[in-house]
Amino acid sequence: MSIQIILALAVFVGAYILIATEKVPRTTVALVGAALMVVIGATDEHGPFFSEDSGIDWNVIFLLLGMMIIVGILQQSGIFEFIAIWAAKLAKGRPFVIMVMLVIITAVLSAFLDNVTTVLLIAPVTLLICDRLGVNPIPFLIAEVMASNIGGTATLIGDPPNIIIASRAGLTFNDFLIHTAPISAILLVVFIGLCWLMFRKQLSYNADRVARVMALNEREAIRDVRLLVTSLIVLGLVLAGFVLHSVINLEPSIVAMLGAGLLVLLTRLETKKIFADVEWETLLFFAGLFIMVGGLVSLGIIDTIGQAAIAAVGDNYFGAAAGLLFGSAVISGIIDNIPFVATMAPLTYDLVQAGGPAAEPLWWALTLGADLGGNATAIGASANVVVLGIAARNGHPISFWMFTKYGLIVTAVTVTLCLPYLWLRYFA
């Protein structure tokens, strides 16, 4: 083993530890790690920006950027608040029915928006509804963030790990709709049942306060009808572009950027509002991660591990899928699933290349494990951390263990259900 490989591994492991412990901002860690990879010669000056195998995956970066711009503009229209309040009124103020409505809304939204954006949109209106109804909002917030992680598995754009996996594997939007959306829908139904079991005793309310929910005027949430209509039309076109990938032959990143550009052109919002919701730090985090993992690819480390994995797996791809599913779930419950998937994607690529079509379900095992594992603990997914912050700021603190005791149950059930799904769908 050369000194270069030892140094590259040290940088990579050190960065992982710092990201997991959150002692240093994760973007700083990823960028410093990327710089060190260049300094030690793990990648040359051409690689980080121009190599398809070991450089920054621009498809991922620009798909995220385009969707952040579109969603940032759409959310200013008030449509999400409108839907949530409308649903609460439709439920006639009954807490569990409201919870089910909000869980379904969150899961569906999360399939098309990233999870953090979804919970940022749904949590404030949830707090308003609970405040009006006089019920404890904590079960609602926990249920919603878990629904966002479940719904995020359904599509290519639902969760950042899916975007990384799709780009590395060459999977399309429709591939995700066909392979992960069905199990995501099944898991959502099961999750609603779990919500009944876990939260029903905490949903007592004063029926006299239902009138306060019914008095909410959801139409007032829509502040700009033209913006709403324009945004929905452009979002529809973008989703159509994703679905028609094989016909129009445009990468999802191009479709998203074209949609973002069109929306900016049509809405003519000031620049500050257009880019207000772009998470530049997250994009830089991705860029740094890609360079770090690219360093391991360039030095042949990923290939070596991949070969070992291929030898270990043999032709037992169901065993490999099970290992990947549960292993990813456990690791994603402990650390951020984005760096994990960024590392595992090239490894899984080697396995799938070696195994051919029989090994392709490994991508779905990785997707489901990494996405659903985020529910396991309070720090398993960025959306969880965001919701805990919102809850605390509003006087409803959710402790790590309070979240985790529910998270472990939900993760165990949902991930375990994925195993028979994978078996029946691909190996039986």
Partner: protein
Amino acid sequence: MHATDLQSNFPVVARDTSAVAAARLIAEERLAGLVVANAKGNPVAVVSAVDILGLLVPNYMLDDLNLAGVVDEQGAEDMWSQAGDHTIGELLDDDAVRLYDLLMVDADATILELAAQMAGAHAQVALIRGSDPAQFVRLPDVLDAILKYCA
């Protein structure tokens, strides 16, 4: 004319002062902010009236401004009645809230010195160094003094 010629009292609040009490002081005296004292009772910082206004509004509505319109008058009155639960301490602990260091000026500072220091520090109020009990110079008084000499 010196700082002592313009000195006056200024409301000082503590960490445990309720948001409603703070808001009442601001409303009664038409202030742009309040001076906050530390645990020993010494004035140390200034919080703006806008941040105190934020304490009266449910936090989730500040996160999502679209929600303010959906609540009717009756609902809003319910919310105001619950606003007293918050304290100034919450502002002090909130990283998103900007606390202004309390500007300190010498007792013999001239009007020009006061004007320059207050403008430079974007301060609405300044504490006269060494005054006991604490005495302050307010921005409107400084402006009044300046305007006497303006054409």
